[in-house]
């Protein structure tokens, strides 16, 4: 069945929403790769390969996993950290969706109102959205695809995202761990991470960078 291919950009000044091009979201047990519906199991390895092949693979954790609003989320956050350590991947938070005055610090944050700035600044070529509210994730995914060459992936806790190049749905701790396991497996088979060296920054509770100083 033909479908609108959701490839990495830059696509155009204003690419269409994939849903408006007829792309349908996956059902439970499925994922999509570039608009093609696949069994979820197929997407884990594909996702892991994209992570390992990227020079600046990055996770964008959103407020739904950054704040401990229930115990399940705390577990999810730990699983995300394990994935970041295993790959390795950078962690750049989308802590909230506020417009930032006078401008964002693109080195350490991403914002759905101008996500391309963070992608450009850090030369991010593959990313995973996790814990971002679906509406804001969709805004950002379309803008990233419009203006950057970043390969976007979404670990969505709800129904998934057509505007990501690859999307899981019903994201759980187990599913995040499955990506980590897929990364480990590929590495054990000799696939090497192409990630450039980096030092992960960390913030204090007020949002100030405390390391590396």
């Amino acid at each position: 069945m033909s479908h609108y291919e959701v490839k990495a950009g830059p696509i155009s000044f204003l690419p269409p929403a994939a849903a408006s091009m007829g792309n349908v979201l996956p059902d439970p047990g499925e994922a999509h790769i570039e608009g093609r519906i696949v069994p979820e199991e197929e997407a884990y390895e594909y996702c892991a390969r994209k992570i390992l092949a990227a020079k600046v693979p990055t996770i964008f954790p959103g407020p739904l996993v950054l704040w401990k609003w229930n115990d399940h989320v705390a577990e999810k956050a730990k699983a995300i950290r394990e994935l970041a350590n295993e790959a390795p991947m950078r962690l750049i938070p989308m802590a909230d969706y506020r417009p930032k005055y006078p401008k964002i610090d693109a080195a350490v944050e991403i914002n759905p109102n101008h996500p391309n700035l963070t992608i450009w600044h850090n030369k991010i070529d593959a990313c995973i959205f996790v814990g971002v509210h679906c509406h804001q994730a969709n805004l950002a995914l379309k803008m990233i695809r419009a203006a950057t060459n970043c390969y976007t992936m979404a670990m969505c806790a709800q129904a998934g995202h057509e505007d990501a190049c690859l999307s899981f749905r019903d994201a759980s701790v187990e599913k995040i761990k499955k990506i980590t396991a897929a990364v480990k497996k590929l590495k054990s088979e000799g696939v090497k991470s192409q990630a450039t060296d980096f030092a992960q920054f960390s913030m204090d509770r007020k949002g100030f960078i405390v390391a590396p100083s």
Partner: protein, 413 residues
Amino acid sequence: MNKQVELKGKRIIASNHVKLGQKNKKGQTYTDINDIFFKAEQEPNFLTGSEVIKEAIKRCSVGTSVAYPITPQSEAAALIGEIYAEGYLDEYFRGESEFAVMGQCAGAAFGGHRVFTTTAGPGTLRAMENFPMWAGSRLPIQVCVTCRGINSPLSIQPDTLEMHYLLETGMLVWHAETAQDLYDYILKGFIVAEQPDVHIPIAVCCDGFFVTHTKDTVDLSPLDLCLTPYDPYKSPVTCMDMESAPIRMMRDPFIMKSNYINYSTHASWQQEVKAAMERSRKHTIPLIGGLIDEENTDREILIVGSGTAVSQSREAIRLLAEDGIKVGLVKIKTIRPFPYEEIKRVTKNAKHIFVPEFNIAGWLAREIKSTIPDNERVYCGPHVMGGMTMPSEVIVEEIKKHLGVETGNLMDM
């Protein structure tokens, strides 16, 4: 399309709600929508459309309903007040105007309530600014629009022109033909509109008086079953966040004009609301049995309509058959999302497509004309407006005239 959405043998992936199976304060059991409609036994009742709205809301676990009088929805709004007194809703009050009502509905929805209201005619237009605001804010509010005339001199009689104004608000717009449709669409509309990947408002429209004030037999689901309540934790946006758009704009209009929100964000935002509407197809098709109903669409002459124009067309088709003229029928159930692919498919072989409407604009005919190839096949009419009825004989006469068939005086039939 990357995946076929099946019409048959598939149920909407409705709910794994934490309250599924629990009882509410009225003793009703929170039940999956599939079980309410496809498992539970439905019981026939003889009711007016207004009473049907009341019965539907009894089963919808509505948090807030805001009322304001305008014919022909006033009776339904008053009846909802009665069931509020019986404890079926958490909040119910009268707003200061339709504009205020829709703002108050937004407030309740931002706070996490399931919200229902009703309006009609000039009330719909007075409230209009709020509808794209609801959609942009991703608020899955349901408004039942009991269509009537909107112009001066005032007519309280049926006229569907107000639906034309709703088409690009970003809301789902469904059009009920009968009181049964109205009942089904109110319950099912909440479930579709509240899906996390949809999560936009819905206007369930019906033709005023023809549906609201006439009695019909309607199958109702058991009163001891009700929809699972709205779950704000599945919302695709944060709940009432004063720091983020769109609420932020209310206290800080500066950001609307600045580059702190990229213009691409505004564009992407609009695209996303439209995308949400597209996503609703997947949930709507299995739940209401497709976006259209079709009868004998292999025929060369078709009538395509929505609302009570479909009922009148059914009788017209029977009359035409008596004269040996075979006509097929397409009933459009959802105006937004519009069933583009379905209409293209069913009109593929038609040579003449008639679109009867209860409004002067002929907005449905325009939609169809913009959808299909060789659109000179579409005949925009017959039209009535301002509260006129559309006797089936008028449809027959207009079809015969267009086909060059001797009509006689059909109004004397």
